[in-house]
């Protein structure tokens, strides 16, 4: 399912809403999560999961081709851990 299909499904389930509003709802949800991560905040959605940012410290890396040492700068990466309820649903209701 891609974003436009998600919007489509929500629009069908909520026929009283304008498609344009459904699009804004979906975009707002993901934009807010993204904005929170950019602030270094954690986003906790019980039953679904939690988004957070992990810091990867600077390190000395190596170019695998030349063997040359390179300085790799500190990095911050988005991280998601699925919630307990979702993990359980993935393993009880088999979709296949």
């Amino acid at each position: 399912m891609i974003k436009s299909e998600l919007i489509q499904r929500l629009a069908e389930a909520n026929p009283h809403l304008y498609q344009r509003d459904v699009e804004r709802i979906v975009s707002t949800v993901f934009e807010e999560i993204g904005a929170a991560l950019q602030r270094g905040d954690r986003v906790e959605l019980r039953g679904f999961g939690a988004f957070s940012v992990k810091r990867r410290p600077a390190r000395i890396g190596r170019n695998p081709r030349t063997g040359e040492q390179v300085q790799v700068a500190e990095k911050h990466v988005p991280f998601f851990k699925s919630g307990k309820e979702l993990r359980e649903r993935l393993n009880t209701e088999d979709g296949e």
């Binding site: 270094g40 019980r46 700068a73 988005p78």
Partner: protein, 102 residues
């Protein structure tokens, strides 16, 4: 690294501010967005949100594990796990706002 925690309440508030539905309906719609994603994942479908990332269900085979405390061998049954792969856009945004000179 950890500052504040954002929950459904803030997402609903943002939808309320942005779209102009009632607070109650905004909250229901945030829930509906999450529910649609979960339903899709439970069906084994990948959920791909452009400029945000994809949620992918992966199958893990069974294996023998070990209780690290007792050393006892315990079977781990095959299971499905959810992996989130952030998009390049999200990764760049997060890294640029949080890493020095990133």
């Amino acid at each position: 690294m950890q500052g504040n925690t954002v929950t459904r309440a803030q997402l609903s508030e943002a939808v309320y501010q942005e779209v102009g539905l009632s607070r109650n309906e905004s909250a229901q719609l945030v829930e509906a967005v999450l529910d649609e994603i979960v339903d899709s994942l439970v069906e084994g479908e990948t959920v791909k949100i452009s400029s945000f990332g994809s949620f992918v269900v992966r199958h893990k085979g069974g294996r023998m594990g070990r209780n690290p405390k007792t050393g006892e061998e315990v079977p781990i049954s095959p299971r499905r796990v959810l992996v989130f792969r952030p998009s390049h856009v999200l990764k760049d945004q997060v890294d640029q706002s949080l890493s020095q000179g990133g």
